[in-house]
């Protein structure tokens, strides 16, 4: 081994024993640091996994959804538009979609009602998501009362419960027959919630969308790529903003507070004085201090990332459940397929180790430039 490498190892040795000497302080610092990285890592893993899941699941979503806008708000679309749109070149199929929300005053949950023709579904029967079944405590054969527009309850019998594996898309769904849907909400006749359009060739979608807007200026087409992009960027905005700012702020605060509180204690100052008097140089002490920082931040990073992974993919984000649930009564329970994105791990590394190092540069320099003769005068 070269002397330079030996020197680094020797100083690392001393850095470790000097960290170990102040176990109390350093272990609690390590714990707080790990906790912060654990939180950020959990969020990164969670959002990444959701993004990917969304991308894969929504591959089968409609190519194009056409909504009608009235006074800037979403309004039921005349079904007659469907025929005209179907006539556009490249459109292979246009299906009206009927869906809406239902607030259930009994449980306080919001359900999503979807009318889709399923020949197996009997009149006044419904298929429900497992979230609905869980929240309303009903199972196959039970009745779910839904209030119609006039306020009188209509009883629907539960004919089917969607498999729990599909909870990520269907937890709050109630599927019913189209005529039941229309009757329940007294839906304006000849209207649908929106239109699902599929195209023979996906490359032509943009042209089709342009044509639709041209022909029907009151509509808004939403491309599948836009739906996917929504989910791709859906978590970047505030998760990025809030978490990064929060983490950096918290981290800097902690380090700052720590340095303020303990500062260069007289003891530490004396110790560095001793080191310098017995032949350590400023560079050596700087190296010592940066090793102390690296040991803490590297350990915290590795532990935090591993724990975050376990938390998200083995314990289903149980610690964040409350924040994710928010006010909602009905909360889907799903297991995510793990994803590790090297870019984000590297980014996380930079964001967690970088500020720590930046915050410690000046304090370590101050510590390292203690005069060597300080040890002689005390």
């Amino acid at each position: 081994m070269t002397p330079s490498l030996q020197r680094h190892l020797n100083i690392l040795d001393f850095a470790l024993s000097s960290l170990w000497r102040r176990k109390g302080k350093n272990l609690s610092l390590l714990a707080v640091y790990t906790l912060i990285i654990f939180i950020i890592a959990s969020i990164v893993f969670f959002t990444q996994a959701l993004k990917r899941e969304a991308g894969l699941v929504l591959q089968d979503a409609p190519d194009l959804v056409v909504q009608r806008m009235v006074a800037g708000r979403h309004d039921p679309i005349p079904v007659s538009y469907a025929t005209a749109i179907a006539a556009i070149r490249g459109v292979s199929e246009v299906t009206p979609r009927y869906w809406g929300y239902y607030y259930d005053p009994v449980t306080g949950a919001n359900f999503t009602l979807v009318a889709a023709d399923d020949p197996q579904l009997k009149p006044e029967a419904i298929a429900i998501g497992s979230g609905v079944a869980r929240t309303s405590r009903i199972s196959i054969g039970d009745f779910l009362p839904l209030k119609d527009l006039k306020g009188s309850p209509v009883l629907f019998s539960v004919q089917k419960i969607f498999p729990s594996a599909s909870e990520l898309v269907a937890a709050d769904l109630i599927q019913l027959r189209q005529e039941d849907f229309l009757r329940l909400f007294d839906f304006p006749s000849g209207r649908a919630t929106d239109l699902a359009v599929s195209a023979g060739n996906p490359a032509e979608l943009e042209t089709i969308a342009a044509k639709i807007v041209h022909d029907f200026p009151d509509t808004r087409p939403i491309l599948k790529s836009e739906m996917l992009r929504t989910y791709d960027s859906v978590f970047d905005w505030r998760s990025g903003l809030v978490l990064v700012v929060l983490a950096v702020a918290v981290l800097s605060f902690i380090i700052f507070a720590w340095d303020k509180a303990t500062g260069l204690s007289a003891e530490e100052k004396k110790e560095i004085g001793i080191l310098k008097s017995i032949g350590w140089e400023t560079t050596d002490v700087l190296l010592l201090k940066s090793f102390e920082g690296i040991v803490i931040s590297l350990s915290a990073f590795l532990a935090g990332v591993s724990l975050g992974y376990l938390h998200v993919f083995f314990f289903s984000v149980s610690l964040f459940e409350h924040a994710l649930k928010g006010w909602s009564v009905l909360y889907p329970e799903f297991k995510l397929t793990p994803v590790i994105d090297p870019y984000l791990i590297c980014l996380l590394f930079l964001l967690s180790v970088g500020p720590y190092i930046a915050a410690t540069v000046v304090p370590s320099w101050l510590a390292a430039t203690v005069d060597p003769d300080a040890a002689m005068r005390s």
Partner: protein, 101 residues
Amino acid sequence: MVTLRKSTQFFLLIALNLLVLAALVLHAEVRSREPAARRSASRILVRQLKLSDLCLFTEARYTRHPAMADRHAPFQDHPLALEHFPSGSLVTPPALRREAK
């Protein structure tokens, strides 16, 4: 008794940590290659019911159907206002939809 020097112990610890991390990467790799039976159930429903969104947050329209949300209503407070709902701090406004010309 041979005691390892502290730096070696530290390297061993880091190596152990990296090993755990590598195991997790491997786990992720293996799990994501599994035949996605679970996902196929979702995909079938998406196809049958022509769904366009994930059911993540059911508390409000725009969190339940981010891709279908009204353009103006849901994100009136965007981007600087504090969210009304806790989950609003995780859900971002959808990417701008282009007005097709």
